[in-house]
Symmetry: C2
Subunit: 344 residues, 2 copies
DNA sequence: AGAATCTTGGAAATCGATTTCCAAATAATT
DNA sequence: AATTATTTGGAAATCGATTTCCAAGATTCT
């Protein structure tokens, strides 16, 4: 019931030492002989001693906790990234507080507030679709908390950034489609304010340009994230006079929307319509036809993000080093949806 | 650089008050007039004051943090459950530390250790497949930390439990299959030591028995969790002399394995083989034929779990109340995979 | 007016680990 | 033997918010 918590003072008392010595023993200070360390540790487990991190954190001024904010934890890319982050953080004895923004600016702000109040040492964030202004992210650094943006990021904000080779990957994917015989490739992008989607768009445009093609302006459409929007838009394009013969999208959910639209219009995929998306969501290989996608190597990206914190930021002697984005390579995975028959 | 953190003492000094009064003002004590509260809050934001939770937690003896351990955060059920937990915890000003066990006993133990050291107030856990012994979970309660098991639980352990109506849901699903005309229904279950899978098995057995059927012993198979194991096992059964005409499984991944096996053997689903699984994983409605599944209402289950903590456990006057499992109803979602033609 | 009841506000202890600054005691060196 | 290093260990301050115990001043009641 009212049994008090066991502290280092209790250990010290039992052993005839003082608390400071016990603390040093427990933390592996060199000024304590191995024999004493063993003795103290034995007594600690014997008494069922439990280190109180609140006390330690208060004294030391940091919480050894990292906050992570993502739109949804059940999207392959994000859960992979979290797994990678988790791995590295655990290696360094840090723990993780994970929050979902559910693509809502409001919930994201709430998460930021919570994490600040929690005294996390650093926040890794992949911003929500709704997030346009940087003021809330600036709030983080204003509170002397570290900040790393990964995957989805706000450009105008000065912060460390870890992203994929979005432009190059998109360029390569579109080029691959062109090589496979698709000629009228449309692009379904995301909101204008998100650099990540613009990077992908640029890769697409560059590939088209380099192939010497000119496509209708309305083949490059932005702000159609999500299955529904993509389905509607692709339906529109596919039923027009001169429809596209392929779609390159910035997410697998969009690709799925395109596929559903194609099915409803009885357009054959991949014979008459190629599709490549982004993220390598787990469902892409389960559905039929299986969707080609760009694997972002989320786990690796997560590891890279966390490592960046531990190597560069934790001893920020000069915190104002200009932050060069760290790039993680991605890989195109070609499946049925972009395997045009006549290219086989 | 070395700018000190703003504390309530700074606010107090600026305002000519004392820290204790500021603290009470900030925490809405009735003994502080609204005018003063407003004044203090204004000054607080003006100075960019940041509440230090380590200090508060140290003093108050709790961390207002909940630890959650699940096998994988990217499975629909678990991410839904976490979303529900998150909702309720945030409402109560608590934050969440989420850990994945990756179905590994070792990683689960590591997570438990980390959470204990983090001084979480309570741990919500859905144990990994490998976890058979309760010793590590007992370690939690030994450290005076609350414990609620949800979904997957270890029976011999005395703890609060939140689960679905597994037995009833399974019974209903199998009964539905029988009504639809399936007669030789096989069961693919999980490890023997997990009560949740036994509950589902019992529901299956009860439905078969109540229908007056007797099926071969080898139609009730346990310990075949996962796509691969299920695929192999169903393949074996389907190629035997008298194969089943339906499978009831304890997870959608198993159902997927069955479906793949059926496809590879050119067995028509649902005409010649019905399939119903558990979890209502997002891919179930995307693939073809779409898989019937039991929706566990993960978010609701998560909410229920968290609410249980806040209502019952947080003021555990009598902590030794015998814990009756809390049940969350689930729903059968019938899709193509169990819609036998002649039943339509 | 005198007593009783609120209000408004302060002093100081407390939570538990860490860490700085010292002081013995022992060992090593000249 | 005297001096310098090196161990071994303690005293006490510190981190920042909370909270218990009190004390004036203001208000209401008999």
């Amino acid at each position: 019931m009212g049994k008090k918590r066991v502290t280092i003072y209790d250990i010290a008392a039992e052993l005839g030492f003082t608390a400071s010595y016990v603390s040093r023993a427990l933390n592996g200070y060199p000024s304590v002989s191995p024999a004493i360390v063993a003795l103290v540790k034995k007594k600690a487990t014997e008494l069922n001693y439990k280190h109180n991190s609140s006390a330690a954190n208060l004294r030391q001024g940091h919480s050894k906790t990292i906050g992570v904010i993502v739109p949804h934890i059940n999207q392959s890319f994000f859960s992979d990234a979290i797994a990678g982050i988790e791995e590295i953080c655990f290696e360094h004895g840090h723990s993780l507080v994970i929050c979902q923004s559910h693509e809502s600016q409001k919930q994201e702000n709430l998460a930021i507030e919570t994490l600040i109040r929690q005294n996390v040492d650093c926040i890794f964030i992949s911003v929500s679709i709704e997030t346009q202004s940087t003021t809330n992210l600036e709030e983080i650094t204003n509170n002397d908390i570290g900040l790393i943006q990964f995957d989805r990021y706000l450009d105008p904000l000065k912060s460390n950034i870890v992203i994929n080779d979005n432009r190059q990957a998109s360029f390569d994917a579109v080029k691959r489609m062109l090589n496979d015989g698709y000629k009228r490739i449309a692009f379904l992008g995301g909101p204008h304010h998100m650099k990540i989607f613009n990077d992908r768009k640029e890769g697409y445009i560059e590939a088209i340009k380099q192939a010497g093609l000119t496509l209708p302006d309305n083949f490059t459409v932005t702000n159609v994230l999500g299955k529904e929007a993509a389905m509607q838009m692709s339906r529109e394009l596919l039923t027009a006079a001169e429809p596209p013969d392929a779609f390159f999208t910035v997410s697998d959910h969009q690709s799925l929307g395109v596929l559903l639209a194609a099915k409803s219009l009885s357009v054959n995929v991949p014979e008459n319509l190629g599709i490549i998306g982004f993220a390598n969501e787990s469902f892409t290989e389960l559905i039929s036809p299986a969707l080609s996608s760009i694997d972002q190597h989320g786990k690796e990206l997560g590891r890279t993000t966390a490592s960046l914190y531990f190597t560069k930021m934790i001893n920020n002697t000069n915190a104002s080093l200009l932050p060069e984005p760290v790039i993680v390579k991605s890989d195109l995975i070609v499946r049925e949806s972009s395997a045009k028959i006549n290219s086989l």
